[in-house]
């Protein structure tokens, strides 16, 4: 049980960091499909800078810097040079996947994976009794998750910036009338996305592990995007959606471990989280639709 909770949190944390980060862009009207790439870039840069400097915090700072630069370039392309945000976003992801592997090879002479010299502190480790057992071996970033969620909620739902971002994405005409600089607001949103994806990547590579491996995001960026949509572009619901996906993954893991006497092919068990997501999305869509059409 405790292990199950810990697993859920650990699998959810990167999704929540990336999902809430991506939320800024999506609310500003940018369907940011490059999140997957930014997460991977964050994971690699943390390990690279961390290993080079010997400090995990400098590693994370480096990752943030890298992601801010990448986000700025992406913004430049789609806002200033009229590039298609989906195609450029897919390109950004591919570039990060290739770039991380290439640089790992060029800088550290490693292929495929490398171990990290640094790792995030884990405030509570080892077998624990009582409540502490639910937080054992969580990285400091995972501990800070509630604070992070609160900050995101504050920024998006209780700040002027949040109002401006929402207006820019939903009804640019309002932003224009209010004298909000639309380009600039988008840039800010995208930079925040980059920053959060750096944290998501760091949690992946030095949260539970101390290693980077090519493709270690393994589609988690896309799942984070799904969490945003699933969460109706709301911070709290996006967090819950991230937890749900982490939970689904944890259930998949546990169903393997405690499978018992089932003769159902395992692939079908592994499909459960995906099918569950579809069912949720469908129910929510149907419900929202009903409410909209007033019956």
């Amino acid at each position: 049980m405790e292990q199950f909770v810990v697993t859920t949190i650990r699998l959810s944390a990167p999704l929540i960091f990336a999902g809430l980060g991506g939320l800024f862009s999506v609310r500003a009207g940018i369907f940011h499909i490059g999140i997957e790439g930014l997460m991977l870039a964050g994971a690699f840069a943390t390990v690279a800078f961390g290993t080079a400097t010997g400090s995990v915090w400098l590693g994370i700072l480096g990752a943030i810097a890298v992601n801010l630069i990448l986000s700025f370039v992406y913004w430049l392309l789609i806002d200033r040079f009229g590039a298609d945000m989906i195609i450029s976003g897919l390109g950004l992801t591919t570039l990060c996947v290739g770039g991380a592997a290439f640089l790992m090879n060029a800088l550290f002479n490693k292929r495929g994976s490398m171990t990290s010299a640094v790792r995030l502190p884990q405030p509570v480790v080892g077998p624990q009794e009582g409540l502490l057992a639910f937080v054992s071996e969580l990285s400091i970033l995972a501990w800070l998750l509630p604070v992070f969620v609160f900050i995101v909620w504050l920024l998006l739902r209780r700040s002027r910036l949040g109002l401006q971002i929402a207006a820019v994405g939903e009804y640019p005409y309002a932003a224009e009338a209010a004298g909000v600089d639309i380009s600039r607001t988008k840039l800010i949103a995208m930079l925040i996305t980059g920053l959060c994806c750096a944290l998501a990547g760091a949690e992946l590579s030095v949260g539970g592990l101390a290693a980077f491996s090519e493709n270690m995001t393994n589609g988690r960026g896309f799942i984070a995007l799904a969490a945003i949509l699933f969460g109706s572009l709301e911070p709290i619901r996006t967090t819950l959606a991230g937890l749900f996906f982490g939970l689904a993954d944890a259930v998949g893991i546990n169903s393997q471990i405690y499978a018992g006497e089932s003769n159902i092919p395992r692939q079908f068990i592994l499909m459960i989280p995906f099918i569950a997501t579809m069912i949720f999305v469908t129910l929510r869509g149907a419900f929202a639709h009903r409410r909209h059409s007033g019956g």
Partner: protein, 512 residues
């Protein structure tokens, strides 16, 4: 008066959108503490001028001053700092925001710092709402509000910033007669408190009722600088607006003779129809009506009283909960819109830009797509694009649409020409039953006359027309009968001669 202070001054201000020169270099000045009207046909450049003054767009050339201060780099903030605000022609409040959030975002008055507590924001704006006597919860979603409330919120958010110069771009377009009067009363109060007002209006009657001075733009040029209202005649004004020598058909009452009762048949009827309530409107409650051949049935009412549901249920865009709909003798209660079209129903939607035509698609596509099946080479064969274009060309010519190429996107047409295109599509092939919803909203005088002419001709040819409009002048001059909608019901039906006072009272439910 002549020595009054000048609060707004333009020298050679010009506006261009790409290659479109919306406003030629224009110089004019407005005096403080008065109500100035700015009039002109659609596309004359009124909004463009206003948007420059409000700091939303940069002029393509020229200089201008707000309260003696020359504006070099225009911005909304700068204009607001100098006490100038604007109520836009389109709504600026984001639909998914709550009232408090939307006002906070768009208004110059800010109650929140970088961060805010929702409770505090709510109560701050609740005070403003109370002060302005707007009965709406600050937590309501903008999209759930009736249009009139939305309009008052727009004015509230502009005034909340303590504007000393207030520009209102067509503020009356969506208001009921009572609403217009209340607005005008409020504007006079403001003027008396020293606020300078610049109103962009279309109806001369309204201009005469409120303005102190009037200026006229025509095709991007100032043809009359701000002039005392008493100094110009209505006849001269309409000449200035439309252009010298353009002949204008004056509004006429329903004077044409109608066919005798015997030859008339009921073409469209509702019997005891109920619907579900929608987001913005009450449900229809036991609505019955009958529309005969060769008649125009006008539907009056304050917006949001079920007109949309009525149109939707007649067109089949919404299904009735109970009751019966008949079209040309057929029971169509359970038929969808496309099936009703096949039987002979045509509709001119409420909003030409979001419902009437697809802005990115070409003109010929907008005209022909809906019945593309009729242009196939064989039952399952490919389309004859040439024939489609030819049909579109004929229809556009028949309705006198001004265009350059059949391939130009519909979004590049002017408002009046957009409406003509819609009429061309809906009416080209001898329509028998037509629902026309707000067919002249936002159109200038000449375009309005044209649309009216088309509707009259149709009636002459024996068609049944239901005309839903918030413009009583329009209803009075076209309708054979007028039904008044209130709260999802047809409250009363009137025959000519129509009495403005009676019908106006019926719309707002005032007892007399």
């Amino acid at each position: 008066m002549a020595s009054a202070e000048i609060v707004l001054r333009c020298e050679e201000i010009a506006v261009a959108y790409g290659d479109v020169q919306a406003l030629q270099p224009t110089s004019l000045a407005f005096e403080a503490g008065r109500i100035h009207a700015l009039v002109g046909q659609n596309g004359a450049g009124k909004t463009s001028l206003a948007r420059v003054l409000a700091g939303i767009i940069q002029p393509a050339g020229g200089r201008y001053w707000i309260r003696e201060e020359e504006i070099r780099e225009s911005s909304v903030q700068q204009a607001r700092k100098l006490g100038l605000d604007i109520v836009h022609q389109r709504f600026t409040l984001p639909p998914n925001f709550t009232v408090a959030e939307a006002l906070e975002l768009v208004s110059a008055r800010k109650y929140a710092g970088a961060f805010y507590s929702y409770g505090a924001l709510r109560s701050a704006w609740l005070r403003e709402l109370r002060r302005a006597d707007i009965k709406v919860s600050p937590s309501a979603k903008i999209r759930d509000l009736p249009i009139e409330t939305n309009q008052s919120l727009e004015i509230l958010r502009a005034l909340a910033g303590q504007a000393q110069i207030l520009i209102l771009d067509e503020p009356t377009a969506l208001l009921s007669p009572g609403g217009v009067e209340r607005l005008f009363a409020r504007l006079r109060q403001l003027r008396d408190a020293g606020v300078t007002l610049l109103l962009i209006l279309h109806k001369l009657r309204e201009v005469m009722a409120i303005a102190d001075t009037i200026a006229v733009l025509r095709a991007g040029r100032l043809v009359l600088p701000p002039t005392e209202i008493a100094a110009v005649s209505e006849q001269r004004l309409s000449d200035l607006i439309i252009g010298e020598g353009a002949s204008v058909e004056g509004p006429a009452g329903a004077t044409e003779t109608r066919e005798s009762d015997k030859t008339r048949t009921v073409n469209l009827s509702l019997a005891g129809v109920n619907t579900r309530h929608s987001e913005t409107e009450p449900a229809l409650a036991a609505v019955s009506l009958a529309l005969e051949s060769a008649e125009i049935l006008g539907i009056a009412g304050v917006e949001g009283n079920g007109q949309r549901s009525l149109v939707d249920v007649l067109t089949g865009l919404m299904s009735a909960r109970s009751g019966r709909v008949e079209l040309l003798g057929q029971d169509v209660t359970d038929l969808k819109h496309h099936q009703r079209r096949t039987i002979g129903l045509r509709a001119v939607p409420f909003d030409r830009v979001t419902e009437g035509l697809s802005l990115p698609l070409a003109l010929w596509e907008n005209v022909t797509i809906w019945n593309a099946e009729n242009f196939r080479r064989s039952r399952f064969g490919p389309l004859k694009i040439g024939a489609m274009r030819e049909a579109a060309r004929l229809a556009l010519e028949a309705f006198d649409v001004q265009y350059e190429s059949l391939d130009q996107p519909a979004g590049s047409l002017s408002g009046g020409n957009m409406q003509r295109l819609i009429l061309a599509r809906e009416l080209a092939q001898g329509a028998r039953v037509v629902i026309a919803a707000q067919p002249t909203r936002g159109l200038d005088f000449r375009a309005t006359q044209y649309v009216w002419g088309v509707l009259r001709q149709l009636r002459q040819a024996g068609a049944s027309i239901m005309l839903v409009s918030s413009d009583l002048d329009e209803l009075f001059s076209l309708s054979d009968r007028i039904g008044v909608m209130r709260g999802g019901q047809i409250m009363a039906e009137y025959a000519p001669p129509f009495d403005m006072q009676v019908i106006g009272d019926s719309m707002i439910g005032a007892a007399r």
